[in-house]
Amino acid sequence: MTRSVVQSPARLSELIVRIATLRDRAAFAEMFDHFAPRVKSYMLRLGAGPTEADDLAQEAMLTIWRKAARFDPTRAGAATWVFTIARNLRIDALRRERCVEPFDGGAVPDVPDEAAGADSAMAAAQSEQALRAAFAGLSEEETMLVRMSFFEDQPHSAISHTLRLPLGTVKSKLRRTLARLRAILEAGR
């Protein structure tokens, strides 16, 4: 049975805050129902096997429970925060796979998190809406290019294969799309 509950961004932020402050297991279960199946899809898209994807999704949920106190709802939405957790877990998993000698650096450091100043924080919290609007302004192909940049193991060659475009064209198209996205976002500021 697919339990995939769609929650509003405000509700999801509230759930993380409840986990942080009240260690609320019911809130956690609700978060799990919303995010675990999506994180699993994310891991599958990036080439994990079904068991590994399931394990990584559970691991991501555990990380949410442990790090909930570090979530700052004024900086980014719940989905953004969960995305960075899932992304970092995948980076760690790849590193473990490849490392012969143990790596003593521990988890991927949240460098941008620690370093983010108030300047970007406020802008970021307000811009998720703008971002959604900006995406609406992109063509289907442009949206696909950005999407595949996030969800493919070898983004450039996957895009090239899917859209039947030479690699050089993919890179220049992606560059143009990003410039357009940036322009839309900056115009709306």
């Binding site: 956690f28 399931d54 989905a79 450091p109 940036r182």
Partner: protein, 210 residues
């Protein structure tokens, strides 16, 4: 002072997506720690990631996944201790990494490896150049990205000070030269081997491992 030379938008997007090779990821992390502009762009891209994650079709978890996860909530997590801080004068992004022994490439130029290049993985090295020194005309088997930590270098594209990133994915040879009276310390990530034009450097390469 904020940096003047930034990674490309593509690189920042790849960084946010988690798609950058480790060596390049460290270079970008050093830059964004010093650059509010790129930091907010990466955050934007992470928001795109969040948006994408939220719109992904759900894949059913195994039946007892929630129960198993709930049962683990009270487990002691991996210690959330911060990684060992890097040696003095090195950026926080190098926390937890072991810096290799400094080896002299030629007079005035020394290199310490952090991640040795491997098949399919870029190498990461610290490079120290004395005033007036040049790295030596070189090209690349693949992509090269570097960030200045202290001092400044110049090449035909401009002058690079602390936090500035130089990114190249072409076959062009270039020979950065130190400017000013200060020793230049930079971090360099290279895909494939550096291709030095000078025969003596090519000869030395197997010994220095770059």
């Amino acid at each position: 002072m904020s940096p003047l030379h930034h990674p490309s938008d593509e690189t920042l997007l790849a960084h946010a997506a988690g798609a950058l090779d480790e060596a390049f990821r460290v270079i970008v992390a050093v830059h964004i720690a010093a650059c509010a502009q790129c930091r907010s762009l990466v955050l934007r891209a992470e928001q795109v990631g969040g948006e994408m994650l939220d719109t992904l079709a759900a894949t059913a978890m195994t039946g007892d996944a929630l129960d198993r996860t709930l049962a683990r909530l009270d487990e002691q997590g991996p210690a959330d201790r911060p990684a060992a801080p890097p040696p003095d004068g090195l950026p926080a992004a190098l926390a937890g990494y072991t810096i290799g022994r400094w080896r002299s490439l030629f007079p005035g130029v020394a290199l310490a490896s952090i991640l040795p290049p491997e098949r399919g993985r870029a190498g990461l090295h610290l490079l120290r150049l004395a005033p007036g020194r040049a790295l030596g005309d070189h090209g690349h088997g693949g992509r090269e990205m570097s960030v200045v930590i202290a001092g400044a270098v110049t090449d035909e594209r401009g002058t690079y000070g602390p936090g500035d990133v130089a990114e190249r994915d072409d076959e062009a040879h270039h020979a950065p030269v130190v400017v000013g009276g200060q020793t230049c310390l930079c971090l360099i990530a290279v895909e494939g081997r550096l291709r030095f034009r000078h025969w003596a450097l090519r000869l030395l390469q197997p010994l220095i491992g770059v």
